[in-house]
């Protein structure tokens, strides 16, 4: 392989890219734009849930309970309901998503050491949100229970709560979904831009007939492939850096692990993605077709089969098997480890091995397809 010829191709790609600032801006800017859009849009955190309160007890204890809901910032009190209020109208008109009902006698029961009753009514139309809200409410009630339990005389404590349950969530203590989504987004965005840009750059040459012209030169296929891959590798790595800076500034997600490990993992992942772009280009004859094939084959698996949003363990077995062929799956695991947990690549030997295997296999097949002779 002649480095000079590789450089001739790579330099030409960069010159063409710089001649087309719009495309270059897309390659570098779209990832960040997607990060912003998806980062804010795919947000499973639920805050400021509209809460209506029907406090029939009107005691200091009942007010305390309502205050603990509102002070948590998960709930905003939007209405104070009378005894005869039509609860269904409230949820139907989406005035409130949750209704906290405290019956008369709540304070009295607590005082007497009896079990006091409290009801929470939830709008279950959006099941995901409802589940999250339910979790918050249970936690708030649990906390209230614990406070009252500690405040009660020691003698009465016996037999009431033998297990001291204190859950802790590591790495993402507030369970903020952006923490968890950003690494997945990096994998998804890089896959998309790397596959689309390489596929288009080769197919464009097919369409214009310049590929045919290059085939009559003494250029080796390996030189052509290296010359095509290198510039896009550089552009994609730059895009990665931009995404990480944006993730830090916008979502406060910082890289806790070693940068070198992050770089190596990204490099292997990108080589696989660029190889896949070359593979797509060997099938497609027009840029429109290449774009569609590249979008569908890189985007869908990276979203649905990578564990980015949907946990792989809860998929049907057949689909789980499929995910082994999706490089984003391994990359997500590694990125979450390096970015959130501060781990090094050494802890993810198996995932790195799979990424290397994928990159080698895809590049090999792409090479074979691009060098095959017409018959």
């Amino acid at each position: 392989m002649s480095l000079r010829k590789v450089w001739a191709i790579a330099g030409k790609e960069l010159r063409q890219a710089s001649r087309d600032p719009l495309s270059l801006a897309m390659l570098l800017g779209v990832p960040t734009m997607m990060l912003v859009m998806y980062g804010y849009a795919i947000n499973f955190d639920v805050r400021h849930v509209r809460l209506a309160v029907r406090d029939l007890d009107k005691s200091a204890a009942s007010r305390d309970l309502v205050a603990s809901f509102v002070n948590s910032t998960y709930f905003d009190q939007v209405a104070d309901l009378a005894a005869n209020a039509d609860l269904e109208r409230l949820t139907e008109r989406r005035v409130a998503r949750a209704i906290l009902a405290i019956p008369e006698g709540y304070a009295r029961d607590l005082e007497a050491g009896r079990v006091a009753k409290v009801q929470l009514i939830l709008d279950g139309a959006d099941a995901n949100t409802a589940t999250t809200v339910l979790g918050y409410a249970s936690a708030l009630i649990g906390a209230a229970n614990a406070r009252m339990f500690l405040a009660s005389p020691a003698a009465e404590r016996v037999n009431r709560s033998p297990i001291d349950y204190q859950p802790r969530v590591w790495y993402n203590p507030e369970l903020r979904s952006t923490q968890f989504l950003v690494p997945g987004l990096v994998g998804f965005i890089l896959m998309l831009t790397a596959v689309v840009s390489t596929a288009l750059s080769v197919v464009r040459e097919k369409e214009r007939g310049t590929l045919e012209q290059l085939r009559v030169t003494s250029l080796r296929p390996s030189e052509l492939i290296a010359g095509k891959v290198l510039p896009y590798l550089g552009i994609s790595l730059t895009a990665t850096a931009i995404i990480l800076v944006a993730a830090r500034l916008l979502f406060g997600v910082s890289v806790r692990g070693p940068y070198l490990d992050l770089f190596v993992a990204t490099l292997i992942y990108l080589i696989g993605a660029l190889g896949f772009g070359l593979l797509v280009s060997s099938f497609a004859d027009t840029q429109a077709m290449a774009f569609q094939v590249a979008m569908v084959t890189s985007m869908l698996p990276a979203i649905f089969l990578s564990g980015f949003i949907f946990p792989i363990r809860s998929m049907p077995l057949a689909v789980q098997v499929l995910t082994y062929a999706v490089p984003a799956r391994y990359f997500n695991v590694i990125l979450r480890g390096v970015i959130l947990k501060g781990a090094g690549l050494a802890s993810y030997g198996r995932d790195v091995a799979f990424l290397v295997l994928y990159a080698t296999a895809v590049m090999g097949v792409a090479y074979a397809r691009l060098t095959r002779k017409e018959v």
Binding site: K5, A8, G11, T210, E212, Q213, V216
Partner: protein, 318 residues
């Protein structure tokens, strides 16, 4: 001196379709060799085989002594090829295109600069080096494409329909370039539809449906009319006249050229008398019957009709 290109019994099939059928020819050094034929005649397939891009189904072809099937890479290094579309990068400047192709051909440093300068002068693009290729007129792009294809100083250059869609003055200028290259001992193989371009070739091969139907210099090809006479008939209804004349024993061949009819006969005077006689009977009186020198087009029509007849005869026999 051995020929630069030797083709023997060359066949290329794509599935059941035979694109090139038993082609045999040779081209010597410094020759401008024209490959003619309609679309689908097999010209481009032939050129792509000679460039080492396609492997022949059978037969052999040697370029500069190298076999196209055994050493395509060796051939690629020593030939120039200009594709039907001027395969340049529209979004690069003239100089960037030249330097890119030079780099791909492995030129470097001083040699690259020297060849780039030479190419700019040869293509007549001085002062336009920093223009975007996209903004160049067709004729300039065409000369730039040729310059890019010969940067590495090849001894054989293949031009596949190099003048498609280019204005006549640019075509003329392009052919001056071709003649100059031939003068330097470069062998050029040119495919074209244009008969005026064919006339500028040293020798011509006419292909029809994959087969070679005529081969030789322009003068040699016109020899098919030796001992016979071509008459041009100007009459009101040429098609009707042809239908009427065809089948007459003394009409050797006939073809309609626009509003005129070309008729091949054995003797000029007798032919003229008989044509006037036959046509005046049907009120299609010829205004003029003139003896003309056969053009290449007449030759090609003759050759293709002969080939079609032979093909039909083969079909009947088999």
């Amino acid at each position: 001196m051995p020929p630069v290109i030797e083709v023997e019994g060359l066949v290329k099939r794509f599935g059941a379709f035979t694109s090139v059928d038993d082609l045999t020819l040779s081209v010597s050094k410094g020759e401008v060799f024209g490959l003619l034929g309609s679309n689908g005649a097999g010209k481009t397939t032939t050129i792509r085989m000679l460039c080492g891009l396609l492997t022949p189904t059978s037969g052999s072809a040697r370029v500069l002594g190298m076999d196209v099937a055994r050493n395509p890479e060796g051939i690629k290094r020593r030939i120039g090829y200009m594709t039907q579309r001027f395969s340049l990068y529209d979004d690069l400047t003239v100089r960037q295109n030249l330097r890119f192709f030079g780099g791909v051909y492995g030129l470097r440093g001083h040699a690259l600069g020297e060849r780039t300068d030479w190419a700019v002068v040869t293509a007549g693009l001085e002062g336009k080096e920093d223009l975007l290729t996209r903004s160049l007129p067709g004729g300039w792009k065409q000369r730039l494409a040729l310059a890019c294809a010969v940067l590495h100083d090849p001894k054989v250059v293949f031009l596949d329909e190099p003048t498609g869609g280019v204005d006549p003055i640019s075509r003329r200028r392009f052919w001056t370039l071709i003649d100059a290259m031939a003068g330097e001992g470069i062998t050029l193989i040119v495919t074209t539809h244009y008969l005026d371009e064919a006339e500028r070739c040293d020798r011509i091969a006419l292909m029809h449906a994959g087969r070679l139907v005529a081969l030789g210099t322009v003068a040699e090809l016109k020899e098919v009319f030796a001992g016979r006479v071509l008459l041009e008939v100007a009459c009101p209804r040429a098609l009707e006249a042809q239908a009427q004349l065809e089948g007459q024993a003394w009409v050797l061949e006939s073809a309609v050229f626009g509003t005129r009819l070309h008729v091949v006969v054995a003797d000029a005077e007798e032919g003229r008398r008989r044509i006037e006689e036959a046509l005046s009977g049907s009120g299609n009186v010829p205004a003029e019957v003139e003896r003309i020198v056969p053009s290449l087009e007449d030759v090609f029509i003759h050759c293709i009709e002969a080939e079609e007849a032979a093909r039909a005869a083969r079909g009947v026999a088999s």
